[in-house]
Symmetry: C2
Subunit: 225 residues, 2 copies
DNA sequence: CTGTTTCGTTGAACACGTTCAACGAAACGC
DNA sequence: GCGTTTCGTTGAACGTGTTCAACGAAACAG
């Protein structure tokens, strides 16, 4: 099974000849049909012939542009995830402390996945293990979030919320590790409240200073045995 | 697409009638054929007809016992992973400090995955997002490792390696988060040295005491701006 | 304007996962 | 021992992802 290359999308901001305009229209129709079909039927039950029929093209045309069913899923969902992550980063930046910033980020991204649990499960699976070129695209997306977190952590350290020995980049990697593990556990229905699991870990790893507003004080720990 | 139930495996330690003995032989032949085929061809290129031919049964028989191709993969690989995890836990227990215990655990489990990168990628994907009843089996497996880690952390705390406020269960969850994220990043070829990424995060989150033998001292951090 | 090239599109064909009706041998019950 | 039931096995059929040869219209070149 050899991967077929994806076809370049013509840009609508330069003059198009007839062919290019038709290509663009076809791709848009296919993407819209795919989004609807995946949304309604889920990834497994949505089938290419039905998506093609929705877009009023043949299944061969669908695959001509998107290579395979997985890549079509990525293409159908990628921008919306990108937007959700942008929104989540913006939500985080509005919070007063790093822990609350990360809470806000966690909540916003989880809200995106929780809006459609079933599709989110397969989307998460396919995005975490995507093939090129989508692997690179998802990695770049993750890097963008990681860098935003590191920036927040750097500022928090400057404010005294983190110890001087905290590495913002490492903190961002640790946050993403915790986030993704909780997300996987949630889509697998192993845990019910992923946000809480993320939040409690963050507070154990990066205890809030004693004077942090609106932040519960660390729970007293059992003394050394 | 409805899941077919998996067929019970007869136990070879009780007397079997002719049928049960034949069932057992069939299941063993199918599993061995599947292991070989997945190993040689990878999951996608291995196909059920070829596996069935290797086992000298029909494809219908393969699916009769294992439900679908994914479940066959799980069945083919599960015990070996279980054994690898047991070995990794044992290797961890032999180390003198928690950080080195976790290093040993990390190394041992990564060695299992690194022995066959391509198959590991799909095995990891399918195990993290398994359907019932395999979801429960993998979750139980993960819980077993988590509990072993928590036990190590509890002892480490008693020895003074961790602060009194460290929660061993949370530590184990955080460790697994970091471990899996690094593992996914490695199978996706985003990072080259997952063990090092895990180790450096652990040392930042749980800095070794200053007198810890064979443990590099924490790198001096940049002072508060 | 005309002949040639390009390429988007199609739908038939193929491969493969999966389903399932039919069969026959083992197991069961009387 | 014989009729009945159970169930492991088979292979044909089906659904779906994918491949690809063929076609015709747009684009190009002279």
């Amino acid at each position: 099974m050899t991967r077929k290359p994806e076809r370049e999308t013509p840009h609508a901001d330069v003059p198009l000849n007839q062919r290019e305009a038709a290509k663009l229209a076809t791709q848009r129709a296919v993407l819209a049909a795919a989004r609807d079909s995946f949304e309604e039927l889920g990834f497994e039950r949505a089938n290419l012939r039905e998506i093609a029929a929705r877009a009023q093209v043949s299944a061969g045309t669908v695959l001509h542009y998107y290579g395979d069913k997985r890549a079509l899923l990525h293409a159908a969902l990628f921008e919306e995830l990108d937007t959700a992550l942008d929104d989540a980063i913006a939500a985080a930046q509005a919070a007063p402390t790093l822990l609350r910033q990360l809470d806000a980020l966690t909540r916003a991204v989880f809200a995106y996945y929780k809006a459609r649990p079933s599709l989110s499960r397969v989307a998460l699976r396919e995005s975490l293990f995507a093939d090129p070129p989508w692997a690179e695209r998802f990695a770049a997306q993750t890097t963008r979030v990681s860098e935003a977190i590191a920036t927040l952590a750097l500022a928090a350290r400057a404010r005294g919320e983190l110890s001087a020995s905290t590495d913002p980049t490492l903190l961002s990697v640790t946050y993403l590790s915790i986030f993704y593990f909780a997300l996987i556990a949630w889509v697998q229905q192993t845990i019910a409240d992923p946000e809480a699991l993320v939040a409690v870990q963050l507070r154990h790893l990066f205890p809030p200073k004693e004077n942090t507003p609106d932040e519960p004080q660390p729970v007293p720990r059992r003394r050394r045995a």
